[in-house]
Amino acid sequence: MIKLFITFVFSILILSCTSTAFAMGGGKSEFQAFDTPNDSGKSITLRWPSSPGESDHVEYVVYASTTKNGPFETEALRIKSNDMYEEGSDSSYHLAVVETDKLFNKEASDNGSSIEYFFKLVKVSNLDSTSIGVIASATPKGNWFNSSRLNNFIILIIFSILTLCCIKHAKKVPGLFIRKIKGLDAIDDALGRATEMGKPALFVHGLNDMDSISTIAAINILGRIALRVAEYDTPLKVSNIYPIVLSVSQEVVKESYLEAGRPDAYVEDNVFLAASEQFPYVVALSGIMTREKPAANFFVGYFYAESLILSETGAATGAIQIAATDAFTQLPFFITTCDYTLMGEELYAASAYLSREPLLLGSLRAQDIIKGVLIGVIIFGAILATCGVDFISSIFRPG
């Protein structure tokens, strides 16, 4: 399995290097056209040497045709002669990408990758037009792997394997040590307080829809909280801003009550859609906090400007407040107004921490190992960069 994985990674490496080398062509030459690397096969890149002393008054115009002899009537590109230089070429080459599917009629575009496109470069000044380059041609081809994201892909694979290995290890060796997270330990206290006071607990979802991983993490936490709430027989109110999150939350809370053997205690209206816009959502929740005075407020998910209004209102009602968010811009507000705040990654660790399942705890160990490696790489990279070697930063360059 490991051999297969190594072979696979090396094949991708070799393929990506060779395809880029072939695509770019070698040596310094005149007007060039080549298939744009790492694209869907709907563009061609044009490259030509710049002339010294280029100005705003001179333009480069590229005409396209599907036959070598023309006619070159379709204008594919028009740029100022001192614009669009190739990155890293020290302004000695122009580089432009032409989207071929927008050049000709639909029939021609539908034939797609089999078409060979011909381009003619013309330099236009106020006085005359001069064809300065030979006609260049290329056929666009779709790529099956984006080689500029190879570093990202390798890191993902390594991290995935490490996580799965740690989970497997945790299955064999239970009782993994995990540092205390005060905010998560306080959940039981907050729910206990709500039970003693006979008041509800309020769970507030963030402003992202179900496609956000922070909302999925919030749902995971909701499932654990709902299980405890059902055992304590305390009402749990869950506010939502998106209907899909509402449906999932209803199902999760219902299942948790069922799991706790209290399906009769589940009230459908307690998991509700408060509003579908940001500030109406704030108003609806502030009203609930002020009128019903929940004993515990949980703000979990991704929040925006509403974070402070919500948490400050909750603080004014005297509720125990626990926030968990990966929105770093809102963290100061939650830290100021809430009793406990789970910062960033703690939001994603919460489900494992609350359940204490060895399998889930295993993934936390993998996260810690990766963090350790990254800290080492950052320190090593900073030292190298200080010495003028940017090797590490080139490895982590985004694609």
Partner: protein, 217 residues
Amino acid sequence: MNFFKRTIPMIIAFVMGLLMAFQYYVPHESSQNLLKVVTRWGMIISGFAMFIGAYSLFHMHWNRIRQKVSGWGYSIFVFIGAGITIIFGLLNGGEFFWNDKQAGTMFDWIFDNVQVPAGATIFSILAFFMASAAYRTFRARNKEATILLIAAIIVMLGRVPIGTMISQYIPVVADWIMSVPNLAAKRAILIGVSIGVIATSIKIIFGIERAYLGGGD
């Protein structure tokens, strides 16, 4: 029953999770088409889910009015507001809802003159909440709070002309605080979040994390 409630959702999560993770690395047209199709599915599901949301909203407020719970009077405004907006939305300026949306209708007027100012009013309250939160935070109760207080004062002064008038170094120090310690902390949080996101995704894709399906495991 467990098969439909657990196994099938987990299979869907596994297949779609892997497919969409690898889609990011494949620029080919078929991969882009897959992304378009899946995005369209998401939009269609969201459209249908709106009915569930509307039902939840009306059902809850109707029960509040029926049971006369605390603040039930506000629930009447939900029906009045929603009713008026829906009627004008369906009327669509006399062209009715089956035609393209018309501009300058009563529906737009309600949005521009009721919802937008009401939202702006709530947003403006944020300034007052920020002042009260800042007052609580900036009391120098311990070492950390004192550092925070000093840093905040320097950054605030560095952003206004009076800072430069006091000393030309204040804006420089303010910029350094924002671009060095502040940025470093922000990046550290972001790296932690990204690792957490990947770990959570792996757990969901491989069916290790199942809390989102409801109940225990």
